[in-house]
Amino acid sequence: MNVMITGAAGGLGRALANECGSRGFNLFLTDVNEDGLLSIKLGLERQFNVTVTTKSCDLTNAESVDKMLAIIDKYGIRFDMLLNIAGLDFEGEFIGRDREKLVKIVMLNNAATLRITHAIIKRRRPGKHFTIVFVSSLASMFPMPLKATYAASKRFLLDFAASLRQELKKEDVNVLALCPGGMVTTQETLCSIKAQGFWGNVTTNPLEDVARNTIDRALAGRSIYVPGIPNRLLSFFGKIMPRSWVAAVVYWRWNNAQSKWLNHN
């Protein structure tokens, strides 16, 4: 089994890489962080008996992606699974944020994800089952004032995954959208979860469980994975409540949490 992971040097990427490594899958890892890629490659090779290939690449840059694809083609690497982990999170009021940084969220979370997915489906191993995972978010279930761009970019992935899944069913491809709540991957995520107080704790998912279940479910042909019962309940309410109410509640909650978080920092 050959698996490509984007954003592999980050917290969730590393956890999924460990999960795949422990299952004996060979890995092709990419990220913008070259040093980080080198470290995770060493760690995986020392822990598991698997082949790990890395190539740093800026997925928002078509040229950079073409260079990576050229290497993949040169060595004739073909894939059985693609884990689209690379993504940006970024909080705050739309109008108060740096314009280019906002645009970058959509460029990476959406445009770049489409680019790499299109390219890797074309490089699937012929005649074999293929699996794609998109990392959406619990935030994709609601309109989210103060996380407007991020949440909408995740909604894009959620809907896109469902449509693509239908299109590719006949090609023996499964597509899964992962919609986690918070996960503690860095000190910053920890601070932001703490600032959300009770709800931050309830919606937080253990990273190692999410990694294991994601691979299990993707291979079992599931379409969506919302980790944790509280998150499933929240996403259910998100569906039945009028969207303007949801927006008002979310605004009120994030406004509190973010002022705490900003004061804390």
Binding site: A9, G11, R14, A15, A17, N18, E19, S22, D35, G36, S39, I40, L42, G43, L44, R46, Q47, V184, T185, Q187, L190, I193, K194, N201, T204, P206, L207, E208, R212
Partner: protein, 293 residues
Amino acid sequence: MKTIVITGASSGIGLETARILTRKGFNVLGIGHSEVNCNRAKGSILSENPDADITYFLADLMQQREVIRVADEITLCLNQKSNGKLHALINNAGCVRSWYMTTEEGYEQQFALNHLAGFLLTYKLLPALKKAHGRVIMTGSESHKGIRVHWDDVMLRRRYNPLTAYKQSKLCNLLFAKGLNDRYATAAIRAYVVDPGLVKTGIGNKETGWLVNFIWTLRKRGGVQPEVPAETYAFLCERETVPDGLYYYLCKKKNYSKQVTSENADRLFKLSERLCGIEYENEIAHDRKVRAK
């Protein structure tokens, strides 16, 4: 003047140990990962003892390439200051986590910092320790008891329990010390583990969730000041004749877990060597023969 390296010397037990050792005339090289905390620690030591010989090095010991970089810097410094001799290495930096978090290598953080960092740093500083017939001291804990090493899943990915991960990392400290003594008795390097007891430090309040935070805030109220365990490190560093024993509490030998066997130590050495990409010289067979005679 004898030189001592202390990791995690920017707060808590490590800081007080650095303070007491400089007071006793040792040249101390401290390692910390926050510039602010290191500067504050240095200022605090110098303010009460302006002659203290203390230097701080910055490194995030959770990342292996940082351990290697700082070890090279320290080796350079030892060559300039003390003929390349290191009298003692105190592997003290440690952390507590509430969640499964990984280092850049993808290793679980408590295992990586509390055990692997010291394992790799000791390896890198071994030549300097050999020159001085030096001592290696780990900060262990009573919590190493009542647990075994989860050999089939040391990073505890399958079922993560933060307390289990902590306890296991502290058991590894004892196994590492045991393994060092097995290997380097003839080279006259001696390893110890100090049980500091319950100490009032911030360890459970850094990068932890509310539950661990809350429990630690209550628990540490019953603890002693870090000056108390610092005496035990000073005792182990100062004695002219090399103290025997492995596990120390309040300057006295103490019993340790039955899990601390040469067999488990060998197993941990093999695993850790693989995870660090290094190989300690194999003097073990030789050493065991010498002791059997």
